[in-house]
Symmetry: C2
Subunit: 240 residues, 2 copies
């Protein structure tokens, strides 16, 4: 297991004529305040002291790209089996003040409440930030963030990735709220439900919400096998 070290000296970077890193934009959907959040850490690089940055690290010559991303996520969130997707590689010669560091950007989706369980057990330094409040990050991370956000928005419309940010059981309203917040659009409740019903990728659970002072909503779960069946039949998934 590699140790993560984010504060690399100029010497270390110069010795590798060119260094490669992985940076992860970690998205989570907070359904308590209905907000899309990203996980950031305070950078340890002197030149950007005090600024927030993405979760990243140099990759070792013996490590695959995806494995590096998984390692970083495991180290910073305690979580494995998160949704992960390579987005773009950023390699401007001027992007790192200490030398040439090319970085492969990933976005990752996690279920915030699973993460919450972990921070109680582990001593994790990362903090959630509302994506709307992030105005500036260390390095070119703000640009990377928005490239990844655009990719997430596309993924959400074209593939059932949203479920990776929801609890295993969720209400249709929670799902719609997620779509509305991430895509920044308003959806019609009846049309949204009809479309999901047509895809037949959700299973209705026998449980309902409890402790709400209104009609309790039914819980649903995403059925990956049914989704794959849909795709195998050449059908396309698209919301909205």
């Amino acid at each position: 297991m590699h140790e993560i070290k984010t504060n690399h000296s100029s010497e270390e970077l110069k010795n590798q004529a060119l260094a490669l890193s992985v940076d992860c934009v970690v998205f989570g959907y907070d359904h308590d305040d209905n907000d899309l959040k990203i996980l950031l850490i305070k950078t340890e690089t002197e030149e950007f002291k005090g600024q927030w940055s993405l979760l990243g690290d140099l990759i070792s010559p013996s490590e695959n790209l995806n494995d590096a991303a998984i390692r970083i996520l495991k180290k910073r969130t305690g979580m494995e089996d998160v949704y992960l997707e390579q987005v773009e590689t950023f390699g401007n010669t001027s992007r790192h003040p200490r030398g040439r560091v090319v970085t492969v950007a990933y976005y990752s989706l996690i279920k915030i409440e699973d993460y919450i369980l972990n921070i109680e057990k582990l001593d994790l330094e990362a903090r959630w930030h509302s994506i709307t409040e992030v105005k500036h990050l260390a390095f070119d991370h703000y640009e990377i963030l928005h490239t990844c956000y655009n990719r997430l928005k596309r993924g959400l419309r074209e593939r059932p990735v949203g479920f990776s940010m929801l609890p295993k059981k969720f209400t249709l309203q929670q799902l719609q709220d997620l779509y509305e917040v991430v895509l920044h659009i308003k959806l019609d409740r009846r049309n949204f439900r009809r479309k999901l019903q047509a895809y037949d990728i959700l299973v209705k659970l026998p449980e309902s919400q409890t402790g709400v002072n209104h009609r309790p909503a039914k819980y649903y779960a995403f059925d990956q096998a049914k989704y794959e069946e849909l795709i195998k039949q050449g059908k396309t998934f698209r919301i909205p």
Copy 2:
């Protein structure tokens, strides 16, 4: 200007603990035989002797990623101002027999007839291959090729990139043939023309085809400014 050298010794690769390269999948549409082609060179890497490979090279520590792609294209095709898009970074530790080489894959679109003009003047080693005939390439280039081909297909449907593979003036039938060959689908001529007319991104030129023994087709040109106007109005381009 960097020189391209594709046959790197194990020593050279080991000295950079990790090396970064750029590989370009160069697509061209041959409207004489209505076929999508890719440009390949014979690899100089001993382990893959005699096999075809993508156009690529190591990138220097002082060179931006896009600039490396532009340099490779200029060197191998004599062409500048080609359409270029980063696709994905391939970094499996085992992908290069001589060491760790992570490669950033690009796809590029060129007008074949402009290229033909260049090979008469320059001594270029690359050769066109029909994409349907390529079954195997050196390294993991076959996988890279198909990842880029999928990206091209998506781009063609969602953005007006096809024009980068056609002459400046073209007939509507040539444009439709390109879509049919690249996407591997059959389109209805009337519906295709109606949709293009609706987008209003083509200008009809005063010229027509000559030397054909049937009713000559009108020539059209793509109008980039009109396309940008369309997008600025929040409209979306999609074919089919």
